[in-house]
Each structure stands twice: as structure tokens, then as C-alpha cells.
């Protein structure tokens, strides 16, 4: 019997700390474990007893990359509990804020974290030595997203301007002048990005995923919609826990999610893109057609294309919203606080982010549940690794290890959200 092992102590270019173990026995995959060993962070527990109004600012601290997603899911859940709906320009400003987060998060992942894999560089510094203008383009796009978030949310990280019912303060129309010009440049550079991503070499990986995302009747989903899947799931957000289950596995501090009656499922840009392609803007569709990337895209290595198209879309959408912006009389709406359950699910850059709260008579949170996208994708990461290693056993140990790391980065995992560094270990066992 033959044995060997491949070990990578730190899988860089992911958010957070975890490890990966692939065991092989006689050339066959024996076991795959995506381990998240970062200690639990207990956010759900320490939300208990806090005021409902604190949820957006407390949960935003879960992640430095996608704090807006946490704020959005929490305010939608609270508004659901109180039976209020935010409409008009305030709703548009929330969507605009989400555009900013998608732009900054996706641009960071495309250029700084994922592209080096495809082009054979150790990291973005090495990539920048040979492709300085490409990296500069990515940094400009990312900064535009940062600027938009800072303008609307007070600052890029740990935003402070979102509240249940709207915002604390909204910008004037003139305040958007500078960022609007940057967004127009970012839109053009995002189009170039889409074309560039299509030239990258993609390893083969054809998987029949069950894609899960929000779906909205008239718009590419960000803040609102029903939960749908490519295999027929179509439920209201409040039915989430009837269909999605979290289980604890001994080797991970993040709960793993499964869909009732099935196993793993995929959330994130590829899922959103495949399910909601018809809601993209004409320019985003044109870019997709130009590179022959119309859905379904079933190779997760091509998630970088879906991300690039979403950046293009987010730039266009942000421009549309700003050009139509008329500041409302008040930055927030009135509502009455009352007891009850509230459910919210929005599209974080990495996929659906579910929040559920129970608020008591006094407006204090009695119970909270938060399911981040990386926790939901954990099982699919394991499934993809199993399939990929099975099909690529002939690769050298070094190449296989690098490809496995790249595969994990396809998911842009945010382990800090799911509970923070990933080490990779591929081990071949002989018995």
C-alpha cells in the first residue's frame, strides 16, 4: 500500500484561520476535512440582552471585509420583526451602499487574492512586478468601492451610519460628484476586468451544483428577494430554518449547513449569476456574451468571471442610483418597536447571509441566529476538493497542493465570518 502526504502550513490569501486535510489511500481520496479552528466568537450569544438598535453595529464587527452585509441583514430582520418596510430613496441608498461593498470586496479578491493563482505568482507583489498596470487597475476599482462605502457609511471598515429604518445621515446630491466620476472610470475598467478574467487558464472542474441565492422579480438581488435554488427551492426568507440545517462537526468551529433532503449547496457570485443572469444590466450581459460566459457556469474556478461581471454590474447600478438620487426629507422612517421574530437575508459578496432575531417587549434581543455564507459553503468546499483530487491524482504533489489552495480560494472564504488563516494538508495513507 502506498502513502504520501502534502502539507501546506498556511493557505494565504483567505480571510481568517483554518486548515484543510486531504487523506489519500492508494491513490484514492479517503477523507477531506475543511477545518476551521478559529475559536467561536459568540456573537449570537452576546447579542442577547442588547437593544434591537445595536444589532447593525455589533454584527458589522463580525467582518472587516463585508460589514455592510451584516448591517443590511440585521436591519432587514429587525424591520421584518416590526412590520415596516423601507422604500424609495432610502431603499436605493441601501442598495448603493451594498454596491460599494461588492465592488471593494470583489476587486480585492479578483486582483489581490485569486489572480496570482491563475497566473502562477506567489502573491500580488510578484504579480505586480510583471503586471503593474493590471494590479493598479484592480486597486483603483477597489478604492472606488471603498470611497463609496466611506461616503455612505461613515468609514470603510466598521461602518457607523446604518440604522433600523434607514440611515443616521444621508449625503447631499453634490456629495456624490467625486465618487460618481470614479464610478464611471471603474465601470469602464470593470469591463476590461471581465475581458481579462476570461483569458485566465481555468482548471477543469464540472460539478452539478445546487446553486442557492436570493431572487427578486425585477432586480439583481442584493437586499431583498425569495430564496431559490437551481433545483427548485423557492421559499420566503422566514422559511429558511425549515429547509436549511446547521450541524456541528468535531473538526470545525463553524457550523456546517446542509439543505434538507440534499447535501452540500453553493452560495456566492456563481450561484447569483447563474440564477439571476436575466436581471443583469445590458452592459453586464454584453460583457458576458463577449466572453462566451452565459450561464450556466458550472466550473467554480470561473467564479472569478462571475465576480468580475458583478463588479461591472455594481458600478453601473451605483451610477444609476446616484444619477436618480433626490435626497429624502428624512434619512430614516418612523416605526414602532414591538415583540416578535424578524427574519432577514441579503446577498453578501460571498453569498446569502441569514439573520433571525427574537425581540422582546422592551426592544431587547432575546435570541439571535446568524448564518454566514462561508459556513454554508464549507461542505461544498470539501465536495469540490474531493472531486478535484479524484480527477487530478496524476498531478505532482506540489501542483496538486497549489491547485487545492486555488480551489479553496474559488470560494473567497471568509473564515472570520464563519467563526479566521487556513493551513492545508494533503496526506496519503497506506494501510
Amino acid at each position: 500500500m502506498k502513502s504520501s502526504s502534502i502539507k501546506v502550513d498556511y493557505l494565504a490569501r483567505v480571510e481568517g484561520e483554518g486548515s484543510l486535510l486531504v487523506k489519500m489511500r492508494n491513490g484514492l481520496v479517503d477523507d477531506v476535512k475543511f477545518k476551521i479552528f478559529e475559536p467561536p466568537r459568540f456573537f449570537e450569544a452576546f447579542l442577547r440582552g442588547r437593544k434591537y438598535s445595536e444589532a447593525p453595529d455589533i454584527t458589522a464587527r463580525i467582518c472587516g471585509i463585508c460589514p455592510i452585509a451584516y448591517q443590511m441583514s440585521s436591519v432587514h430582520a429587525m424591520e421584518n420583526a416590526f412590520g415596516v418596510k423601507v422604500e424609495g430613496q432610502i431603499r436605493e441608498m441601501r442598495r448603493l451602499l451594498y454596491c460599494g461593498e461588492w465592488i471593494e470586496s470583489h476587486a480585492l479578491h479578483i486582483y489581490m487574492l485569486h489572480a496570482p493563482d491563475f497566473l502562477g505568482y506567489e502573491d500580488a507583489i510578484q504579480l505586480a512586478k510583471d503586471h503593474a498596470e493590471t494590479v493598479q487597475r484592480g486597486l483603483r476599482i477597489k478604492k472606488t468601492g471603498n470611497d463609496l462605502v466611506a461616503l455612505l457609511a461613515g468609514r470603510e471598515i466598521h461602518p457607523i451610519n446604518v440604522k433600523v429604518g434607514g440611515f443616521y445621515k444621508l449625503p447631499s446630491k453634490e456629495d456624490f460628484t467625486e465618487v460618481l466620476a470614479k464610478l464611471k472610470q471603474a465601470r469602464d475598467e470593470s469591463y476590461e476586468t471581465v475581458l481579462w478574467t476570461a483569458t485566465l487558464p481555468f482548471p477543469a472542474l464540472d460539478h452539478d451544483y445546487e446553486f442557492v441565492s436570493l431572487s427578486h422579480p425585477t432586480e439583481y438581488p442584493m437586499n431583498e428577494g425569495r430564496l431559490v435554488s437551481s433545483n427548485g427551492l423557492d421559499i420566503d426568507v422566514r422559511e429558511y430554518e425549515l429547509m436549511f440545517h446547521e450541524t456541528h462537526v468535531p473538526y470545525s468551529n463553524a457550523l456546517q449547513s446542509t439543505l434538507k433532503g440534499r447535501e452540500s449547496y453553493l452560495v456566492g457570485p456563481l450561484a447569483r449569476y447563474n440564477i439571476n443572469f436575466d436581471k443583469l444590466s445590458p452592459l453586464a450581459k454584453k460583457a458576458a456574451e463577449e466572453i462566451h460566459a452565459k450561464p450556466p457556469l458550472k466550473n467554480q474556478f470561473k467564479s472569478i468571471i462571475a465576480r468580475a461581471i458583478e463588479v461591472l454590474f455594481a458600478c453601473e447600478e451605483a451610477i444609476r442610483i446616484i444619477e436618480n438620487y433626490e435626497p429624502p426629507e428624512k434619512p430614516d422612517i418612523e416605526y414602532e418597536v414591538g415583540p416578535g421574530f424578524g427574519f432577514g437575508c441579503t446577498e453578501a459578496p460571498r453569498g446569502i447571509l441569514y439573520h433571525r432575531y427574537l425581540v422582546g417587549e422592551n426592544g431587547l434581543i432575546r435570541d439571535a441566529k446568524i448564518v454566514p455564507p462561508t459556513a454554508q459553503n464549507q461542505k461544498m468546499i470539501e465536495t469540490d476538493l474531493r472531486e478535484f483530487v479524484k480527477a487530478n491524482g496524476s498531478l505532482s504533489k506540489q501542483d496538486l497542493t497549489l491547485r487545492c489552495e486555488q480551489l479553496v480560494r474559488n470560494f473567497d472564504p471568509c473564515i472570520s465570518c464563519a467563526t479566521h488563516f487556513l493551513s492545508l494538508e494533503v496526506e496519503e495513507i497506506t494501510s
Binding site: G64, L108, A128, A132, V135, I157
Partner: protein, 157 residues
């Protein structure tokens, strides 16, 4: 450029040094010296460095040498030593960003980094005694650097 988080123990030392330096350079105009506090996304340092002649950076540094030990690194024309890890809660530390700027050819001519050794990044705003005692020495060194940079600038303009 003072880097740090005011609520994570000695991580605040970069910001405290920045404030003390600015108190001592009041005769400089706003277009001559720009104080920058970085307590979030450090990647914006890339943009900030692009348009200046010189940058002086102060940050807490993880190290196995005694707390309060001061490192001075001239990184304008040589790489930041890989053995020194600056603290960052968001992926890219300042050493990485300097090397990225160098690869992009956007690094200022003069890049001076002060690292103050510590391993105390716990919650709260209390500094360890050794780190607190190092602040005066770092401030004096930076004021001297500023004076030399001014002279150098004046000699060519």
C-alpha cells in the same frame, strides 16, 4: 503615518507617537506634513504614499525581543525584512503594502519605518510600561528625520 488600534493594548503606540510628533512640528505647513492615522483598511496607505516625497511610518511590531525595543528600517531602497511582522487585523500589514508599492513603482523616495516591539495586543487601552517609555525616544528620532528630510528637500528645490 501612525498605525494602530487604540483599544488593542500596545497596538495604539503608532497613533500616540503620531500625535506627539504633530505637537512638535506646528511650524510646518499642511502641505508639508500630512498626519495619517490608520486604524482600519491599511490598503489606503498605497494611495497615500503615491503622491508624497517621503513617508515615516510608526507601528507596533510583533517580535521576540524585549518589549519597547525600537526598530528603525530605511525601506526606500531595500526590502522590509521578512522577519518583522507588523500588526494588522485586516490581512495586509504595512510591510506587505510597501513591497507592493515598490513593485508598482509608486513608493516614495524616502520610506522610514519605526517598529516598536511588543506582544501585547489584548483588549483595552493600557500600554505596557516599556512601550510607553519608548515613545519619547521614537518621537525624538522622527523629529530628527523630519529635519534631515527638510534639509534634503530644500537642497534640491
Amino acid at each position: 503615518m501612525g498605525i494602530g488600534n487604540g483599544f488593542r493594548g500596545d497596538d495604539s503606540v503608532g497613533i500616540l507617537v503620531l500625535d506627539r510628533v504633530m505637537e512638535n512640528v506646528r511650524d510646518l505647513r499642511e502641505d508639508q506634513i500630512i498626519p495619517v492615522r490608520l486604524d482600519g483598511d491599511q490598503s489606503i496607505a498605497l494611495d497615500l504614499m503615491r503622491s508624497v516625497e517621503a513617508v515615516i511610518i510608526v507601528d507596533a511590531a510583533r517580535s521576540n525581543v524585549p518589549a519597547g525595543t525600537i526598530f528603525r528600517i530605511d525601506a526606500g531602497d531595500r526590502p522590509v525584512p521578512g522577519g518583522i511582522k507588523f500588526s494588522s487585523t485586516h490581512g495586509y500589514d504595512i510591510g506587505y503594502l510597501i513591497e507592493l508599492a515598490r513593485a508598482l513603482k509608486t513608493l516614495p523616495k524616502h520610506v522610514i519605518i519605526y517598529g516598536i516591539a511588543t506582544n501585547n495586543f489584548g483588549h483595552g487601552s493600557n500600554l505596557t510600561a516599556e512601550v510607553r517609555e519608548s515613545i519619547d525616544a521614537v518621537v525624538m528620532k522622527i523629529l530628527k528625520d523630519i529635519e534631515l528630510l527638510q534639509k534634503s528637500w530644500l537642497s534640491v528645490h
